[in-house]
């Protein structure tokens, strides 16, 4: 059930990135406000308390960006998905290559289909390289 909720949240984050960014910001600001209050109760002056709260929080923008990124990341093991994509791309590109080789090329239509197969092969070959780079990133 919680996996389903996480997936719904992921889809929502993709569809409404601005809303998520606003939510994250409101949440982080609430934290700083709570810390500021605690600092004031601890005897600090308001300006000093706010400054100390910001310092103890760390880099606000970096945290906000990271939280938004996590909201938009896949809620399950993405390597399995990437591997499936890689295999699909390899099968389509291989199929196109076989088709191009075996296509009779004594007629105009045959040559045309062969060209289409080559385009498909190139396109999926590029996609395969991109997916491959995602799977095994080069340094």
């Amino acid at each position: 059930m919680s996996r389903i909720k996480a997936t719904v949240r992921f889809l929502h984050a993709w569809r409404h990135p601005d809303e998520i960014a606003r939510e994250v910001e409101a949440e982080l600001r609430f934290h700083i406000e709570m810390r500021t209050r605690a600092n004031i109760e601890g005897g600090m002056r308001p300006n000093q308390a706010q400054l100390a709260a910001r310092q103890s929080f760390g880099d606000f923008d970096r945290v906000k960006t990271r939280c938004c990124e996590i909201s938009r990341s896949l809620p399950f093991d993405s390597n399995v998905l990437k591997m499936a994509m890689y295999i699909t791309v390899a099968v389509v590109a291989g199929g196109a290559a076989l088709w191009a080789v075996n296509m009779p090329h004594h007629s105009f239509t045959g040559v045309l289909w062969q060209l289409v197969a080559i385009v498909v092969e190139c396109e999926f070959g590029n996609k395969g390289t991109r997916v491959g780079n995602l799977l095994y990133p080069t340094q």
Binding site: M1, S2, R3, K5, A6, R9, F10, E23, V24, A26, E27, L28, F30, H31, E33, M34, R35, R37, S56, F57, G58, D59, F60, R62, V63, R66, C67, I70, S71, S73, P75
Partner: protein
């Protein structure tokens, strides 16, 4: 170990967040406070780093959140542990005990 120097091992933060939430629903600020409280102020976490941890745990389905009103009548996002999160906490605790035991054994070896 000096209290101010007590850092966290990688992966420990997630376990501490789960532990803090196992005691009841909390907002992010409350999670930090509870971790400090249950560790007798020994574990100091950079406050901002709590949030990526909370979001990560929510993404894994171990915690869930909803907006509610806090004690001081402000809107705040509250987190609570899910059933899978509770199971995960038990696994994390067992792993941690095994690791800590092995480390102690290695340190005491003569």
């Amino acid at each position: 170990m000096s209290k101010s120097k007590a850092g966290l091992l990688q992966g420990t933060l997630d376990m501490l967040i789960l532990k803090a939430l196992s005691l009841g629903a909390l907002h992010g600020y409350g999670v930090g406070q509870r971790i400090a409280q249950i560790s007798d102020d020994t574990l100091k976490i950079e406050e901002g780093s709590l949030y990526p941890g909370l979001y990560r745990l929510e993404q894994r389905g171990w915690v869930e959140s909803e907006w509610d009103v806090s004690d001081n009548n402000q809107r705040a996002k509250f987190y609570k542990l899910t059933r899978t999160g509770r199971k995960q906490l038990i696994i994390e605790e067992q792993n941690w005990e095994r690791l800590a035991g092995a480390t102690m054994k290695a340190l005491r070896a003569s």
